[in-house]
């Protein structure tokens, strides 16, 4: 299904030779509200299922991405945990992008979760919040967190997924 009409496809895939991948990338713009992690989880689960990812592999990535989106909302945009019913804690957007890349020992799913909020050093996060990063790191083959004045981006690459498309 070639993306003939959509304007926002192939955000991260443009460095590769367009191999007519049967693999539409995942693109989501989430508002900085507490319903967003749940929306991200559903979308990632559906997307990975469509790519024949294993149930265990899906569980791990859903856990990791949910925590990364949560960190963006909580730490990037400073939305408080008890503001569930309020329409919007912050006008900011959390962008979630995913793509599947080929590899000899099994495909990988790569995700970026980006916000334009304030940078917060993960090491400076107090108390039980540390569980979030523990989960993100444990659920991926590689995790990179980069940040600055313009926001924070978390990149994560899955463990080997299914070999066949």
């Amino acid at each position: 299904m070639p993306p003939t009409s959509e304007q926002d496809e192939h955000p991260a895939g443009d460095t590769e030779t367009a191999s007519a991948a049967p693999d539409p990338p995942l693109r989501l713009a989430l508002s900085a509200q507490w319903v967003s992690p749940s929306i991200a989880r559903d979308a990632v689960r559906r997307w990975l299922r469509a790519h024949r990812w294993s149930p265990e592999g899906i569980d791990e990535l859903v856990l990791a991405i949910s925590e990364a989106v949560t960190n963006s909302i909580e730490h990037g945009y400073g939305v408080l945990p008890d503001r569930a019913g309020e329409p919007a804690g912050h006008p900011g957007i959390v962008e979630l992008a995913g793509r599947v890349v080929p590899a000899a020992d099994g495909r990988r799913a790569e995700f970026t979760i980006s916000d334009q909020g304030r940078w917060l050093n993960p090491a400076g996060v107090p108390g039980g919040r540390g569980h979030g990063l523990t989960i993100i790191r444990a659920c991926a083959e590689e995790v990179r967190v980069s940040g600055g004045a313009s926001g924070t981006t978390v990149f994560l690459r899955s463990r080997p997924g299914p070999r066949r498309w």
Binding site: P37, S38, G128
Partner: protein
């Protein structure tokens, strides 16, 4: 959307236990209700009664939920009322294992 739609909590007394049954997803959207129900159960029990967190209907448990469980755990410990936690869903079990919280809680896997 209101967080309460994504989580259902019911508390009941059964003999010497206060059972908190939770269904849905525990994350930042719902953790206040989750934590509140468990705290209330803690308030209801006196030793040697116990608290059972029946999370068999929970399909997702985030780090915020793990932190809430650990807080209730230490509170129950402090007042001498055992807490046990029942889980079934693989995603929930995985979150507990990855963080080592499964080693701290009295976990019953179904």
């Amino acid at each position: 959307m209101d967080g309460s739609q994504l989580l259902q909590v019911a508390t009941e007394r059964n003999g010497s236990a206060v059972i908190v049954r939770v269904e849905g997803e525990v994350d930042m959207n719902t953790v206040t209700a989750f934590s509140g129900a468990l705290t209330q159960a803690c308030d209801l029990v006196t030793a040697p009664m116990r608290v059972v967190a029946d999370l068999t209907g929970v399909t997702f448990l985030s780090s915020a939920g793990l932190t809430a469980l650990l807080e209730i755990h230490s509170r129950c410990r402090h007042q001498g009322t055992p807490l046990s936690v029942e889980v079934t869903h693989p995603t929930v079990r995985r979150a507990l294992e990855i963080t080592g919280v499964d080693q701290i809680l009295d976990l019953r896997r179904h």
